[in-house]
């Protein structure tokens, strides 16, 4: 049971389940993959890359899985003791989980991007929308 002040829009951008003509099936939240993650206080030596997506970005998370930054895979070339916080790109671009998948694909194409992080309205990581992982 959820009790959310703010209506349907606030509900969907938090990634909560929906029904109706669009429902969940066409929302990007159904197509995300889970990127490798690292905590803000970790070092490069702590980062473990997902072998299934070795070229994808690493999400840097704070408390309650709030997305704070991103590391490109090249960061793993740095010495192991390098603080993640120093090498990360702060505040990467994000979209909300309720965006329709067709709109995401169109925007990625327009922006010349392969992927974009998906977060809830409160900044918690939902996953990574990656073009090569979206089959519609």
């Amino acid at each position: 049971m959820y009790d959310l002040v703010g209506g349907r829009a606030a509900w969907t951008v938090l990634g909560l389940p929906t029904e109706g003509s669009v429902g969940d099936r066409r929302r990007i939240s159904q197509f995300v993959v889970q990127p490798a993650t690292a905590s803000l206080d970790a070092t490069i030596g702590d980062v473990v890359v997902d072998s299934a997506h070795p070229h994808g970005p690493v999400a840097v998370l704070g408390a309650t899985r709030v997305l704070l930054g991103a590391l490109q895979p090249t960061a793993l070339r740095l010495p192991a003791q390098t603080p993640v916080q120093r090498a990360m790109q702060p505040a990467p671009a994000t979209i909300r989980p309720d965006v329709r998948v067709e709109d995401v694909l169109e925007q990625l194409e327009k922006d010349h991007l392969d992927h974009v992080f998906v977060t809830t309205a409160s900044g918690e990581l939902v996953g990574l929308a990656a073009r090569d992982a979206i089959h519609v």
């Binding site: 590391l71 490109q72 090249t74 070339r77 740095l78 090498a87 790109q89 671009a93 010349h112 992927h115």
Partner: protein
């Protein structure tokens, strides 16, 4: 450096140094342990106080002669009014022969500063990107030994270059925005960037393979104390405070000087890393690598080039060699 490590490069600033010094600096960089370098290609300095802008291809010939292992590229050459794809392909092919595989060609959409002397119209960025794409395609054909006929922004009539390297030089494309990054991914063998901006690398990666090189430029002013470092940065590289949107548009060194003077030196250490030790330099390199760059070229502003060489040998290379 291991194959998967961080690579540090040396920036040879044609705007600041006498061409004979550039040749000496290249040799010193190789002796210090650098395996890659970029040399800027300017017709005029950014500001009058820099007082240099040697013909880069002449200097490259001398650098090829005095170095043995370091690869060198242009950072970067434009094809607008000053240089045509024919002239550039001819120069690049010869440089590639002279360097015996150690040369790469860096290209970009150029700056009005280096083109206005020809008295021609300065095209907008989109047109310059189109010309760059056309020029790169022509250079690839010419450097591979093809007999080329072409009509477009440039004409090439029945030309086959006679002096050719064993393999055509790699072509790196400069990018400071998302449109040029997308173009770099489409037509380049690598990208040259000027800021640790992961969003630009993301765009480049969307049209390039995962292992295509991404190289960056980091301006540093290293000195015995911070005040001297700031003074040197302002004396030799005041153009660093000029907004990026103006870099391609101003026509004369005096205009860059006037804009820099109007802005003032207060922000110079935000545009040029002023430091006395290696720690802030390492932190800045780490930001480039975290943003997706595999090579970072260090540009020590001013005449004290030996200070960077000593820091690299004593601290930077050992730091990045120890990854485990």
């Amino acid at each position: 450096m291991t194959e998967a490590g961080v690579r540090l490069g040396w920036w040879l600033s044609s705007e600041e140094h006498d061409p004979r010094d550039l040749v000496r600096h290249a040799r010193a960089a190789e002796d210090a342990g650098f395996t890659t370098a970029l040399i800027s290609d300017h017709l005029r300095p950014w500001v009058p106080s820099q007082a240099n802008a040697a013909h880069v291809w002449t200097v490259l010939g001398a650098i090829a002669h005095v170095t043995d292992a370091m690869e060198v590229g242009t950072g970067v050459t434009a094809m607008m009014h000053r240089t045509s794809p024919i002239v550039l392909a001819h120069a690049a092919a010869t440089a590639a022969v002279m360097f015996e595989g150690r040369f790469f060609l860096g290209v970009g959409t150029g700056e009005r500063l280096n083109e206005q002397a020809f008295g021609e119209r300065w095209p907008r960025a989109g047109e310059r990107r189109d010309r760059l794409a056309e020029g790169v395609a022509l250079i690839r054909r010419l450097c591979s030994g093809e007999n080329v006929n072409h009509r477009g922004a440039w004409a090439v009539e029945n030309l086959r270059l006679a002096t050719l390297p064993a393999a055509p030089p790699r072509i790196f494309v400069a990018a400071s925005g998302k449109r040029s990054a997308a173009l770099a991914g489409e037509i380049g063998d690598g990208m040259i960037g000027v800021a640790p901006d992961g969003s630009i690398v993301d765009v480049f990666r969307s049209t390039s393979s995962a292992d295509t090189p991404v190289v960056g430029q980091l301006h540093v002013s290293l000195a015995a104390d911070l005040e001297t470092a700031r003074e040197s940065a302002w004396t030799w590289w005041p153009n660093a405070v000029v907004p990026p949107s103006l870099l391609g548009e101003l026509a004369r060194p005096e205009e860059f000087e006037a804009v820099a003077d109007a802005i003032g030196p207060a922000g110079i250490d935000k545009a040029v890393l002023c430091a006395t030790g290696a720690a802030p330099v390492i932190a800045a390199i780490d930001r480039f690598v975290g943003a997706g760059f595999d090579t970072v070229h260090l540009h020590q502003v001013g005449p004290d080039q030996a200070r960077l060489a000593a820091m690299a040998t004593g601290e930077l290379f050992p730091h990045y060699a120890h990854r485990a």
